[in-house]
């Protein structure tokens, strides 16, 4: 378990940043990290990782502190059902739902897009990489690490209370561990 005491703090040209160990975000938990001044929530929903900006595009609420729920749908009253495959993050301020995978707002799915920019939440790419690979990428500047002074916090999945400051001293990488790497370009851009 070799931990280098003085991590390189390079910015990756690709906007890739190591933000946490995988074990820091167990299933059905979340972590809010501050990367380059921007708060981003990393979610582990049923074993899959998602990253979304901690700012609701509606009125600026702390989006990443809301409930995660499945999609409720019905063709008509009396036929209510749950689509568990689609997960929404709901803003704690006004309850707007956003697809946690795409950031797509869901309150008005049947209407054509408005002329103004779509009020989708910012979402980001997130991947898991092992320490050995990251070591080389760090050396070549292909990936950065989260600022150790970053305000990062667990959010209790039930009460949504922030559990305490994240300890940034886990960085840099441990060859034998797995890490969560955030890509600051939006996931939409990276999908293309």
């Amino acid at each position: 378990m070799a931990t280098e005491p003085d991590p390189p703090r390079k910015r990756s040209r690709q906007g890739r940043v190591v933000v946490a160990r995988v074990s820091d975000i167990p299933e059905n938990s979340r972590l809010i990290v501050t990367v380059r001044g921007r708060e981003i929530g990393i979610f582990n929903v049923a074993g899959k990782l998602y990253a979304i900006g901690n700012r609701c595009p509606h009125r600026g609420g702390d989006l990443c502190k809301g409930d995660i729920i499945g999609r409720v749908y019905a063709e008509r009253p009396g036929e209510v059902a749950l689509d568990p495959t689609m997960k929404f993050i709901t803003c704690p301020w006004h309850g707007w739902e956003f697809d946690i995978e795409t950031g797509q707002s869901w309150y008005d799915p049947a209407s054509p897009p408005p002329a103004t920019p779509s009020p989708d939440a910012r979402h980001f790419g997130v991947e898991v990489a092992n320490g050995a690979d990251l070591e080389a990428q760090l050396a070549e500047g292909q990936v950065g690490v989260v600022d150790e002074r970053a305000q990062a916090a667990y959010v209790d999945p039930t009460t949504h209370r922030v559990r305490g400051p994240f300890q940034a001293d886990v960085f840099p990488v441990d060859r034998d561990d797995e890490y969560v790497v955030l890509t600051l370009r939006s996931a939409r851009a990276t999908q293309r």
Binding site: Y73, G78, C91, D108
Partner: protein, 373 residues
């Protein structure tokens, strides 16, 4: 004599085309006119008890000026709007009126439920025989028995709903339970099945239901103005309960309450729906859009005095299909149609005065033209 588009107090350069009047009242003058249409058992009931009319029958009190225009009140003591000749003289023969829809508010909600059913049948058969069959310009709303027996209500809709003169079923707005509730599904199912409109109309007959959730107001002016909130509650409930997803062909008219209140309530509903959509997941588009497709509003009473103000409201409605002209005969609301005709703009006036109602109530102008009036 140049045709006076009565009861319009509008200069004819604003509108001299056809008129469909969607809210014309007809008054049952007394139980004696219904006797021929009552089953023998109910004739005996009425005779034995000396039963003359339901409690709470709306009598157009002489000293309540808004209840009836003075010129529409017969001098000989007959009730206003109680005979075909009165409505012909005051509405149908004044020029331009292509169709008028009769709304009879005979209050038959209380008393024994079987009497309520018998009275509803009698009134509807009386409407057919002495009004609809007597003048092709007339259409009518079905008078329904007490709402606390939805099966009986649906049965009466099915019994007479096939008559081409009936275009609507009349539901008083003060209903005791909001109309979107599932208890009423059989009623709306029957309305949809018979291709009728559900007409939500001012009033609550004699069930003793106040127009505010906090009980009875003190004065007439309060009741007159407070009624809007009952309509608002009904509209919001019908949308929220998914009535228009359950019955996708359902058409609802809100009668004798105007329309200026509609936009702000639906803005509020649209806004809040965005955050609590999952509570009403059958609503998959903004509620205001649903209302634009499924609900219409009659003009009277026209609670705006200035056309420039009304222009805003009409623009906020987001559609010129939603408002239907109504005289609300024989009431006197002092509506000045100049205000709404100016506010509508020339291109929309035909919609207001006739086209919207023709489309909504499936009226064919040729049916009355053929009679050569």
């Amino acid at each position: 004599m140049s045709p006076t588009l009565h009861p319009l107090r509008a200069p004819s350069e604003l509108w001299d085309g056809p008129i469909v009047d969607v809210d014309v009242h007809v008054e049952v003058p007394g139980v004696e006119v219904l006797r021929p249409y009552l089953a023998p058992v109910w004739r005996q009931y009425v005779d034995e008890r000396g039963w003359s009319q339901p409690f709470g029958t709306f009598p157009y009190p002489r000293n309540s000026p808004a209840s009836a225009r003075p010129e529409w009140r017969p001098d000989d003591g007959r009730a206003p709007a109680s005979e075909l000749s009165l409505i012909q003289e005051h509405i149908l023969d004044r020029g331009g009126v292509e169709h008028a829809i009769l709304n009879c508010l005979f209050p038959i909600d209380s008393g024994p439920p079987d009497l309520s059913v018998a009275l509803a049948r009698a009134v509807n058969d009386w409407l057919v025989a002495e009004w609809l069959d007597a003048d092709p310009r007339l259409r009518a709303s079905i008078v329904l028995p007490a709402r606390n027996d939805p099966a009986a209500v649906a049965a009466e809709i099915d019994r007479v709903g096939g008559h081409p003169g009936f275009v609507q079923a009349l539901l008083p707005v003060r209903s005791g339970m909001l109309y979107g509730k599932r208890l009423y599904w059989p009623v709306f199912e029957a309305i949809e099945r018979n291709d009728l409109v559900a007409g939500i109309h001012w009033g609550g007959s004699n069930e003793g239901l106040p127009p505010t959730p906090s009980g009875w107001p003190t004065r007439y002016i309060e009741e007159y103005v407070s009624e809007i909130q009952v309509f608002e509650s009904q509209l919001i409930n019908m949308v929220a309960e998914g009535l228009f997803q359950k019955f996708p062909a359902l058409r609802v008219s809100m009668l004798e309450i105007g329309f200026t209140w509609v936009p702000m309530w639906l803005w509020d509903m649209d806004r809040n729906w965005k955050g609590i959509r999952r509570e009403v997941p059958w609503i998959s588009r903004p509620p205001f859009q649903i209302v634009r497709d499924h609900v219409r509003f009659s003009t009277a009473p026209l609670d705006a005095d200035r056309s420039e103000e009304l222009e805003h409201v009409l623009r906020w409605l987001g559609s010129d299909d939603m408002v239907l002209y109504a005289s609300d005969y024989p009431h006197m609301h002092d509506d000045d149609l100049t205000v709404i005709l100016e506010a509508m703009g020339e291109e929309s006036r035909a919609k207001l005065m006739a086209d919207n109602a023709r489309a909504w109530y499936r009226l064919d102008p040729a049916e009355t033209m053929a009679d050569g009036d």
